[in-house]
Amino acid sequence: MNLATALDPGAEALVDTRLTAPGIRCAGCIGKIERDLPKFAGVASARVNLSAKRVLVRHAASVSDSDLVEAMRAIGFEAQAVSAGPLSADDAETKALLRALAVAGFGMMNIMLLSVSVWSGAGGATRELFHWLSAIIAVPVVAYSGQPFFKSALRALRHGRTNMDVPISIGVTLATGLSLFETVTWGEQAYFDGAVMLLFFLLAGRALDATMRGRTRAEIGALLSKMGRSASVVQPDGSAHRVPADLLEPGMLMLVAVGEALAADGVVEAGAGAIDNAMLTGESAPEAVGPGCPVHAGAINLLGPLQVRVTAAAGDTAIAHIAQLMDEAGQSRSRYVRIADRVSRLYAPVVHTLAALAFTGWMIAGAGWHQSLVIAIAVLIITCPCAMGLAVPAAQVVAAGALGRRGLLVKDGGALERLSEVDVALFDKTGTLTLGEPRPDLAGLTDAAKAVALALAQVSRHPLSRGLTAGLLAQGIVPAAVTEIAEVAGSGITGMFDGKPVALTSAPAGGSRLACELAIGGKRTMIEFRDELRPDVLETLAQLKAMGIESQIVSGDRAEAVASIAARLGIPGSGGISPQAKLALLEDLKAQGKRPLMVGDGLNDGPALAAAHASIAPGSASDLSQQAADAVSVGERLLPVALAVRAARRTMQIVRQNFGIAVLYNLCAVPLAVLGLVTPLIAAIAMSASSLIVIGNSLRLARAAR
């Protein structure tokens, strides 16, 4: 670890801060951050978590979050401070399951060692000794590893319901109890191995499921933090004061500097320029604003200082409404019942009835209560859903792994189940069907002109300038030696090159919206920008169609822009749709019995992503959209969307096969158990064999994402 360089240990209390930095990709990034971040004053150490793309920074309490973000930017990483909240709860559950799994594995191996000797004929005193040893191992192991099941079963029973954990808990407890009784009374058969093995296989299924579950829902705090945290407010005496966002009130006058994010909704009173609304609408082109224009919290002021009269603040802003919509929209998804739960609702009563019938049957037939109980417990153990518990998670984990290697990260198993059911797809336009960043058409420029353009464009933070800079840098252009560079708010950048005045200005009014003009001396050249379609859009739509999924475009962008793209792709499209209207459209589709798949990136798609039956966000989407979506596709391609649906359907097919195998196994094993023919040896073989078959069948999905 890189330890303090500029810090006197003990001089100040150290605190930990977590930063999320999506740009961390490789060993080089890890090395750079861990080596360079501690060089900043007050930072003691930094530790990168590559899987989570997070950095844990240990620093003096006097260093603020924004200082750290600034320090990260200085070494080349965009970062944002996050709270530890949502991740840690899931983590704790996974860890508890893994610990229980390790203990069960330890117990199973050792008890099996002893049981094998008993099965191979150890008798008399040796058998007694081994039974006692097994009991000493099994009882604490069951007490520890069984807890996840016991707790969940108790919870269900307390609410008057039953779930898969109820037969498991009863089976394990009874089997352990009966085996203890057998051990104490020097009996012949003990089922310790069966009970512990059952726990082991079931815990394996649970642990797989838990490790797959991603960071599900974000806190709304993450969204609100994107809003400006404070604003400069003009006081009655004319001086300006910083006021925190939640203390702003309608009627106040805010001074918004260039590059600052608005902290409240308002109307421009003075000043002119452009704002970047990408956060709110997902549209990349800046919107020109002047006196009288409404502006929203979260927008970034790009060109000149603005004076904005607050009309809505804190919880009343448009962005806060979106957050609220998203929260409500997500509720319907939490009501979705996963396939394992649906199966267990049928399964649990059947198992209990069978065991009870076996017990009463043997009692009536004249067997003693001891023998009847042994048979009833054998029925419970043999039917206990080992293979059932693995049927779903094993298949889903393998499929998610395969999709992950193809650039689609699936959040949890439920997401795959819902993805497999979709029958209509809704696409956002900007940033989803298109790349979401304007790319310049550089064909009309000479190399000298490109060099001048780069020199001018790189000083500005206007989105078109940034697009132009990126496009030129990608061609390996070196900036020309332009002097006296100045950015004139609202019009462009000027400078001197080779004794001639040069300028990069926004396109004259009336022309195409996405263009700028380069002037060198008297020569003027138009540079057009286009937001290109992703390269594989047509193929993706065709593949979806082949699977019976009709696509359409719903976008917040202008209707004409949407119509031209829709016509090119040959699918219906509608533009100018607000987040509320998207939500209404989804509800409408659901009411018709459809199961919509939403693919979108902007914050304005957030509520729709949360409300749709299933949703996918591109990797370039806003953080919140990524968190609301079921899956995130990395990279420039759209094809993973079609791939995801196909793999999800294949997964559900395998899951159903797995259930079929489990049922088939039960059909064979249950009659044996009811007839009292199941010995501990047979139970052990049957249980592990069915589990292995289910795992083997699931592994076939490793090639599902091809």
Partner: protein, 49 residues
Amino acid sequence: MSGLTYLIPIALGMGLIGLAAFFWAMRTGQYEDMEGAANRILIDDEDEL
């Protein structure tokens, strides 16, 4: 039979050591960043160690 009095405690003891090692690894966060661990060997840190 007398061999068992040594062998069984040894077998159990070895299992317990493995279990304890796993618990330790888990508590100290060894499994938190598998991807990072795989990549860290590629960092060439020739400076101060």
